[in-house]
Symmetry: C2
Subunit: 149 residues, 2 copies
Amino acid sequence: MFTPRPIGFVNGPYANTSEIPSGLGAKHEAEGVLEILPELEPGLTDIEGFSHLIVLWEFDRAQGFELFGTPPTDDRPHGVFATRSPRRPNPIGLTIGELLRREGVKLHVRGADMLNGTPLLDIKPYLSSIPSEKLRRGWLAEAEARKGG
Amino acid sequence: MFTPRPIGFVNGPYANTSEIPSGLGAKHEAEGVLEILPELEPGLTDIEGFSHLIVLWEFDRAQGFELFGTPPTDDRPHGVFATRSPRRPNPIGLTIGELLRREGVKLHVRGADMLNGTPLLDIKPYLSSIPSEKLRRGWLAEAEARKGG
């Protein structure tokens, strides 16, 4: 397979995972900066036109993986591919960020829920959404219902 | 950084990229199967509860990358991070698939727009959408407007 390389790094407010909002109803409103390597700046051309970006990054501080995990949003374990756990076979994280503005190689985004210094793997434009009425959200919806009831 | 490894492979209808619908208004309705490695099957526990999955995979037949690309949806070049081009610094593809059913290690999905045999990197539950009225889609919306007008 390919050899991953950082395309840039996150400059954000979180130094430790304990500072990142988690659990049911957690809001990801933190502003952070995606700093792209200078030699890749031409690859950002026209990105300002998109309101939202899909950001892929490395869980660089996660160790190994486990096939079951208990997420902060529930008290029951689930398969790793049914969760957003950091301890995955390939430690790739995904964040949808709102692009607030671009300054050269710096992309200012809302929703930067990664640790400061996190290596970035890719940025893609967010093109379309599944309508919320078509979504089923399995154990997460059940956990929300239990908490609300 | 981490060393990627396949968590499984795509069993789908497309042998060549020329067969994959592309361009403005292309529909991705193809059904395919994500076949997960047997030793990772416990990681799929509870995935059936989600209607849609985020699938990350390797563009394993793309060679190198370019910072500008002209997508099939437009006749003008754009920065690679403002497109879904396969020729990216890290050749990671992303597909949102509708989970039709699971049979053991086989996930039957609608929207399998990858080539047959594509190595899978990760599967995550699709949890929420950005409302379409909040999305701006830059050059893609402009290209659609030019085509429609």
